[in-house]
């Protein structure tokens, strides 16, 4: 029996062929459009839909200029000029143009770079400004491209470099504020997902478009005053030159708020050229990251402890023999000869170690630094003055230092006798400044801060709200007595160097340096810690530290003149009215 097809007409055969062909097409289309639907949608989306990152702008950093913020760190759009050696046409013109316009930003050996014909990407110049890039573009060079990037610029140069830190090549903050507040400064990148044309121009067709704007980083305003900072850096540089010290740090703080007005360290660096720094130690903010034995500056805190506990006053007396026995150790004064029955004010004036060991003993049973005395000192030094703890200042690299507890084996009477005059403890300058501020502001401890506020999106300065109240490590009466004692200590020897009509005070410090497990004979750190203002209000606290390898530096001789320079300038800058 014949099949229908075999016996059918030609039209039937044609119909069968067409239907068969159609069936093949339908089958294929069903496979592509239904079964493989997801796969081809993905392929099409990859081809047509682009996910573009909208980069967030890194926040700017401002300093104060009196009452107004001024930018210290800004962003600038710069360009990397690159060539495709396979498509360039006129080597000579390219080299001439790049050298003429990019100048020092052009790379060396341009001809050799252009000769690398196996490469499609050779960088010819970096960090080219917009104006330079526009000039190069105007030359209409073939095979030349531009890559846009953002870089930090510093209108004030190296001012407050260690406080600011810098931003590395990956866009991450390093050191200082840039590191500590990296998340706040970075912001959050946005996302643009859209169908694009061949030139990557986003088109509004399609159903899966996403337009999530970038959230720019916070524009942060520091409490650093650029004028104070500049003068402090200059005074410190002059001081180092005068004394031969190789390292120096200085802090100026408002004792009524805890806000840092200046924080300087030498040697310093230019954050715009951080890659050229040969010694990374220059990046460190020594005022917060280099603990040291503070020496005689701490005598003010020991005295405050004694007065606050009611065991001593400025006019209380003790018998000074220039030596005092603590267990098996004999502690001597650095300055000899002030022997006999003397007041503690006299001991502070002459910075006599025996006086402050006596205070420690008076905190105990009167002749021994008992466990009770040590607990009291630890309570004041650690819990109340926050020595040996992070202050929480908003710059990277802060370290705690060390205050040995009486609970530890090393926390014995000898250790605490040393601590009473500034040895046997490691603290940072910012800890000491914050603690000392409470002695001259009525007994309030403010957490030191470098943040003053933010600039809002309209460019308006919004000061930080006060969120926590200060603690009270000592009574207002104790603070008042200490303020007077340090005023007397300064005016006894150095009144002639201060501007008349103001109220200043301070304490010298000369610290021995521990090297190889013992105190080095050929090296010491000189510090001066003091305040200034009117008789009824301290307006600033300044701490200066100078040091150097194999340098014996002293507080009175080397650090005090720097303090005086800054202090006298501050009195004018703050427009404080003199009295008398």
């Amino acid at each position: 029996m014949k099949l229908e097809l075999q016996k059918g007409s030609r039209s039937k055969i044609l119909a069968a062929v067409v239907l068969s062909t159609m069936a093949v097409f339908v089958g294929r289309l069903f496979y592509l459009q239904i079964i493989q639907h997801g796969f081809y949608v993905d392929v099409a989306n990859k081809e047509q839909v682009k996910r573009l990152t909208i980069p967030a702008k890194r926040g700017l950093i401002y300093a104060m200029d009196g009452q107004d913020p001024v930018p210290l760190v800004m962003n600038q759009t710069v360009y990397t000029v690159f060539a495709d050696p396979q498509t360039i046409k006129d080597d000579a013109k390219i080299i001439d143009t790049i050298k003429r316009i990019a100048g020092g930003n052009a790379r060396d050996g341009l001809q050799a770079l252009l000769d690398k014909k196996d490469s499609r990407y050779q960088i010819l110049a970096t960090k080219v400004t917009r104006v330079q890039a526009d000039k190069i573009k105007a030359e209409d060079l073939s095979g030349i491209g531009f890559q846009e990037e953002s870089q930090r610029v510093y209108p004030e140069g190296s001012l407050a470099a260690q406080t600011l830190g810098f931003v590395d090549y990956s866009g991450t903050g390093r050191y200082g504020i840039e590191d500590k507040l990296n998340d706040r400064l970075t912001g959050k990148d946005g996302l643009l997902q859209s169908v694009t044309d061949v030139s990557d121009v986003p088109l509004t067709i399609g159903n899966n478009n996403i337009n999530k704007p970038a959230v720019n980083g916070d524009n942060i305003v520091l409490s650093i005053d650029r004028n104070v900072q500049s003068h402090v850096e200059q005074a410190l540089a002059d001081g180092l030159k005068r004394t031969g010290a190789t390292k120096g740090s200085a802090i100026v703080v408002d004792p009524q708020t805890g806000k840092i007005m200046a924080m300087a360290n030498l040697p310093t660096f230019n954050p715009a050229k951080f890659n050229e720094v040969t010694d990374p130690a220059a990046f460190n903010n020594g005022a917060v990251s280099s603990p040291y034995e503070p020496g005689s500056d701490v005598k003010t805190l020991t005295m405050a402890t004694g007065i606050d506990k009611g065991v001593v006053t400025a006019n209380s007396t003790y018998v000074n023999t220039d030596h005092i026995q603590v267990d098996d150790r004999t502690i001597s004064n650095a300055t000899l000869g002030q022997t006999g029955t003397i007041t503690f004010q006299h001991a502070l004036n002459w910075s006599l170690n025996t006086g402050f060991v006596t205070v420690a003993q008076l905190l105990g049973d009167g002749t021994n630094i008992t466990r009770g005395a040590r607990d009291t000192m630890y309570d004041y030094f650690y819990n109340r003055f926050h020595l040996g703890q992070l202050t929480g200042i908003e710059v990277a690299g802060e370290v705690t230092g060390t205050i040995i507890s009486p609970d530890e084996v090393d926390g014995n009477a000898v250790k605490y006798s040393n601590m009473s005059f500034g040895q046997g403890l490691d603290v940072t300058m910012v800890q000491v400044v914050a603690a000392f501020s409470s002695l001259v502001n009525g007994g309030k401890y403010y957490q030191p801060t470098v943040l003053a506020g933010v600039m809002d999106t309209n460019g308006k300065y919004v000061p930080n709200k006060v969120t926590s109240s200060p603690s009270n490590p000592i009574s207002a009466s104790t603070a008042s007595q200490l303020r007077e004692m340090t005023h007397v200590a300064r005016s006894t020897f150095y009144s002639g160097v201060d501007k008349q009509g103001y109220y200043t005070g301070g304490k010298t410090g000369t610290s021995q340096v521990v090297k190889n497990g013992g105190y080095a004979d050929d090296e010491s750190v000189g510090t001066y810690l003091g305040y200034g203002g009117s008789a009824d209000l301290s307006r600033y606290v300044i701490m200066v530290q100078v040091s150097g390898d194999h340098k014996t530096l002293q507080g009175a001789r080397d650090a005090l003149p720097i303090f005086t320079d800054i202090s006298n300038w501050m009195l004018d800058y703050l427009k404080i009215q003199p009295k008398g």
């Binding site: 759009t77 917009r130 004030e156 140069g157 509004t204 067709i205 004028n227 009215q577």
Partner: protein, 116 residues
């Protein structure tokens, strides 16, 4: 006379026809064949397609215009930033210290204060 319901449906139109014998239905003499219908439908589809394409193209042209404006905004923002940087450099302390005005300044010999 009694009224009886029946099961036969008659439409209102039929009832009207029965009631008004002069009702007239006009029928056009022109008749559209299947080819004409097909052509007309094809034309309508084409016109709708053209309208769609016109709108889609217009939307895309807006995208290009938007992109151009965005580029101009970005360019102007970059110029503004550059000018701000230049302004701050010119107003920096270093620039002030090195200015001709600053270098010719002298320290006051005496200072007096207004008594408060």
């Amino acid at each position: 006379m009694s009224y009886q319901r029946n099961q036969n449906f008659s439409s209102r139109r039929q009832q009207n026809w029965s009631r008004n014998q002069n009702t007239v239905a006009y029928v056009s003499a022109i008749k559209l064949g299947p080819v004409t219908h097909t052509v007309l439908i094809a034309l309508m589809i084409t016109i709708l397609g053209l309208i769609y394409l016109t709108q889609a193209t217009r939307a895309t042209s807006y995208d290009y215009a938007t992109q151009k404006i965005d580029s101009q905004i970005a360019e102007l923002n970059t110029q503004k930033s550059d000018l701000e940087i230049e302004n701050n450099k010119l107003n920096s302390l270093e620039a002030a210290k090195n200015s001709t005005v600053a270098t010719t300044m002298t320290a006051p010999a005496t200072t007096t204060y207004v008594q408060q």
